[in-house]
């Protein structure tokens, strides 16, 4: 990662205008989006969109030809361009041939993608963006920081300053007044322009129809007042049927801005009359520019299902901290990372892909049903394949895989810091862990790893009964063996014998998230062999990241590497894997486990870990267990928002991890609960460390520990 990139991150997280605006927006967005989708079956809508756009992506060429034929039969001129240069040349030639001196544009990401304005301006043509946000950005000489709200990073004072320069008068920062100025200034440009350029949100092949969505009404003027209209349309906007606009128009405004519908939707099918009675000179440029290549890539074709709503930005804990100037190029955030890799070059996505913390928020809200986190991992894998792993990372993976060496190393590191230790925390840790100690305290590495504690647990009462294998994972094994002991105690109380297969190793998540799939595959094979060695009914994990690895990612890694012979064993393991809380909740239901009745244990606030909630789909089970044990739930705001840990992410990106954690701590403290519960030792390390650093009295416990105290 370059130092300029690190600097730009640092600058962004310290820009309070930016983080304030984005932070407030993302909080409000969550609610307005939910309200807009009331009464709508989001899953059904997005499944339909994925079918429509996924199907279209497999037939781009046919659809483009069908669109061309139908739009031309209605009088439009359709030009199919394979690259940006062809688009720019076509438009410039058209402008020159018609003596066009001034152009008005409504928002078009495709035109930004090819840097059209610069090209036309270099030829002496005046180009005016007319979307208010885009115009502000154009006047400021900046680049948009959000795909739907381009100027979200600027304050009203800054906008007043920018407009004052443009109109040569001293303007106040009154927003309605500033909007009126824009109306006045741009009205004149609309009336004088010789050409209007727009994008399109949907292009319908069977009718040759363009669908354009706006709120300000600028697209209606762009397509009505100038005598020439050029629409630049990426071929991924094509859909076969007119009925396909219904699900897309249902999702796009709701997901973009929480509106049921934007103020204006315009459907253009061939030229309509101009104000002088002539017919519009309508040109539609269908731009490919790497879309077909993308459609032919088995993995990335789904990225063409994007409807450009920007919801992946709005829910992203990293985007709301750093904005689109850092997290993106022309396209931003999660989807922007993917589009940048294809529309520019894979290498161009190298730095921005590293910003993804893999929390899965974007996947949950994407109306195109795109698995954005998974595609970013795939980029990472391809980057590592192309560029190789850094030596430092290689060294980390090598150590992580040797359990006793890893523990000894962590342990000796923690011992060296002994004088600084206080209440189980270390202030600083040397070696590769040093970067993360500034904003949170680290756990003391346990004297004995769980693997050495386990044999001392007396299970004589349950030997020979139903058997479960416990998969500890790094954190429980080395830092929090007490969580492991709690799991064994609870399961024993339910009459289950627990075994601990010694050969178990790292779940491979760090390697996989770092793009080192070969390392992850080796981890997967070793763990499968270890955990399936003896016959067990369940494989229990108390770490959601490990559970996800065991249940889903082993097979995904094998598939990515073409190791199909390993898949049956991976499936056999996956079928046995369960997270602690889901298993225990069902044991209580079945009457196999009893909790002490009548306890009043006070308030607890539950933090939903990313993988627990979104990949495993578990959220109510731990809450119910805590309530059954006698706790009163005090829900925190955004309980399912990432805590900033993200495994090794907090090592690589401490400057982002720290402010994400700060938000989480503030939400937690606002509940007034003296206790926080969670199902992930990684989240516990992050949140406990943050609270310790602040000197907060709030205690952090794994659900297993709290339940273990209350089993009969």
């Amino acid at each position: 990662m370059s130092s300029t990139f690190k600097e730009s991150i640092d600058e962004a997280v310290h820009n309070s205008n930016l983080t304030g605006a984005l932070g407030r927006f993302s909080e409000a967005y969550r609610e307005s989006r939910a309200k807009a989708y009331e009464g709508v079956d989001f899953e059904a809508v997005r499944t339909r969109i994925a079918e429509i756009k996924g199907g279209a992506a497999s037939h781009l060429d046919e659809l483009a030809e069908e669109f061309k034929k139908n739009a031309e039969s209605r009088g439009a001129k359709v030009f199919r361009a394979s690259n940006p240069k062809q688009v720019k040349d076509y438009i410039l030639k058209l402008a020159k041939a018609n003596g066009v001196e001034a152009i008005v544009k409504s928002k078009s990401m495709a035109s930004e993608e090819i840097h059209l304005n610069k090209h036309l301006e270099a030829q002496g043509i005046q180009v005016s963006e007319t979307d208010l946000g885009e115009w502000i950005i154009q006047l400021a000489g900046q680049r948009p920081s959000h795909m739907v709200m381009p100027a979200i990073h600027l304050t009203r004072e800054e906008v007043a300053e920018i407009f004052s320069k443009e109109v040569n008068e001293r303007l106040s920062s009154d927003i309605p007044r500033l909007v009126k100025i824009a109306r006045r200034e741009l009205r004149d440009k609309f009336l004088k322009a010789g050409m209007g350029i727009s994008g399109a949100n949907i292009a319908v092949a069977e009718t040759g129809t363009l669908v354009i969505v706006t709120n300000e009404g600028n697209a209606r003027l762009v397509t009505t007042l100038p005598k020439i209209h050029v629409a630049i349309v990426g071929v991924e906007k094509l859909v076969p049927h007119i009925s396909d606009v219904v699900p897309i128009l249902t999702a796009l405004p709701r997901s973009a801005t929480g509106q049921l519908l934007t103020s204006y939707v315009t459907m253009i099918t061939g030229p309509a009359p101009n104000t002088d009675g002539s017919l519009k000179d309508l040109h539609i440029v269908l731009m490919d520019s790497h879309r077909t290549e993308m459609a032919q890539d088995g993995k990335f074709q789904q990225a063409l299902q994007c409807i450009r709503c920007g919801s992946c930005l709005n829910v992203c804990p990293v985007y709301r901290l750093v904005g689109g100037h850092v997290f993106g190029k022309v396209y931003m955030g999660g989807i922007g990372t993917i589009l940048t890799a294809w529309f520019d070059a894979l290498k161009e996505s190298d730095e921005i892909q590293s910003l993804c913390i893999q929390c899965g928020n974007c996947k949950e809200v994407c109306p195109g049903k795109i698995d954005i986190p998974d595609l970013i991992l795939e980029l990472r894998r391809r980057l590592v394949k192309d560029e190789g792993q850094s030596l430092k990372e290689k060294a980390i993976f090598a150590v992580v895989n040797n359990r006793r060496v890893f523990h000894a190393m962590l342990r000796s590191a923690s011992l060296l810091q002994k004088p600084f230790e206080k209440d189980g925390f270390i202030r600083h840790l040397p070696l590769f862990l040093s970067g993360m100690a500034d904003f949170r305290s680290l756990p003391a590495v346990a004297e004995k790893p769980f693997r050495d504690v386990f044999p001392l647990i007396d299970q004589s009462a349950v030997v020979g009964q139903a058997r479960a294998a416990f998969y500890a994972g790094c954190l429980i094994d080395f830092a929090y063996p007490e969580m492991g002991s709690a799991v064994v105690k609870v399961l024993n109380k339910a009459g289950i014998e627990v075994i601990f297969p010694e050969e178990q190793t790292c779940c491979g998540a760090p390697a996989r998230y770092g793009g080192a799939y070969e390392v992850a595959a080796k981890n997967a094979t070793d763990n499968i062999n270890a955990l399936l060695k003896r016959d067990v009914r369940w494989v229990v994990s108390a770490c959601p990241t490990c559970s996800v690895a065991l249940k889903h990612e082993f097979s995904a890694t094998f598939e990515s590497l073409g190791m199909h012979d390993q898949l049956p064993r991976a499936a056999e393991l996956a079928a046995k894997v369960t997270d602690f809380s889901s298993l225990v909740r069902s044991l209580v239901d079945e009457g196999r486990l009893k909790l002490k009745p009548g306890a009043d244990l006070g308030k607890v606030s539950y933090h939903d870990s990313c993988h627990m909630k979104r990949t495993l789909g578990v959220d109510h089970q731990p809450r119910e267990l805590l309530q059954l044990a006698g706790y009163e739930l005090a829900e925190m705001k955004e309980s399912d928002m990432c805590c900033g840990m993200g495994g090794s992410y907090s090592l690589k990106m401490p400057e982002i991890s720290a402010p994400i954690l700060a938000r989480k701590l503030a939400s937690l403290e606002a509940t007034g609960a003296p206790l926080a519960a969670m199902d992930c030792p990684g989240c516990a390390m992050q949140i406990r460390g943050g609270l310790d650093k602040q000197g907060s009295p709030i205690r952090v416990r794994h659900t297993a520990e709290l339940i273990a105290e209350m089993v009969e």
């Binding site: 208010l132 300000e216 209606r220 309509a272």
Partner: protein, 199 residues
């Protein structure tokens, strides 16, 4: 169950449109003329308010209307629309579940009156309200099922189809919702049960 009109009115008002309901064309006309007379602007300007040709006007004496509301004109041009404060037109359909007006706006006059002036008065036959977007497209295309709309083989969609949901809006400066950027800052919807002139 609310009626289609009630649903439509609630949704439209929720996005800052004003909705008025009359049973007869005469009542609707009186309301429009009153509104034009009450609006601020350059009232001496001969095209203070411009009214695009529509079924609602069928059989009405335009000169007499201008006498009753000075500044009201029926010639819609680029110049008159750019100067006008008020635009008046009739919509073809409306969508209840989003509060949306739908119009075949192929005739440029229809677009001029609803884009350039700062007030747009939209006349709508109450029975032209349909439940949702699928139904609206179904009225525009022959439908053979709720999820599958076939474009009419003979014609296809009109060249310029407009969907209008509330007045022009932006939130581009500090996310503060501001009404009236490039289009109308007021959208006044006049629903009439008996349009007389048909729809």
């Amino acid at each position: 169950m609310p009626t289609l009109f009630e649903s439509f009115a609630a949704r439209a008002q929720a996005v800052s449109a004003e909705v008025h309901h009359f049973s007869t064309r005469a009542e609707g006309l009186e309301f429009v003329l009153d509104l034009v007379r009450s609006l601020e602007g350059d009232r001496l300007q001969p095209s203070f308010a411009i009214w695009a040709a529509c079924p609602f006007l069928a059989g009405l004496d335009e000169a007499a209307l201008t006498e009753r509301a000075p500044g009201l004109a029926f010639q819609v041009t680029r110049a008159s629309a750019a100067a006008a404060s008020v635009g008046i037109s009739q919509m073809d359909l409306a969508i209840a579940d989003t509060g949306t007006l739908v119009q075949n706006a192929t005739a440029v006059e229809q677009r001029l009156v609803s884009t350039l002036p700062s007030v747009h008065i939209a006349i709508l036959a109450t029975d032209a309200i349909v439940p949702d977007l699928t139904a609206a497209l179904g009225r525009l295309y022959a439908a053979d099922g709720p999820d599958r709309l076939e474009p009419q083989k003979s014609e296809g969609p009109p060249p310029y189809l407009s969907f209008i949901t509330g007045p022009s809006r932006t939130a581009d400066i500090e996310r503060v919702l501001t009404i009236g950027v490039h289009g109308p800052e007021r959208l006044v919807i006049v629903c009439v049960d008996e349009l007389g002139g048909g729809q």
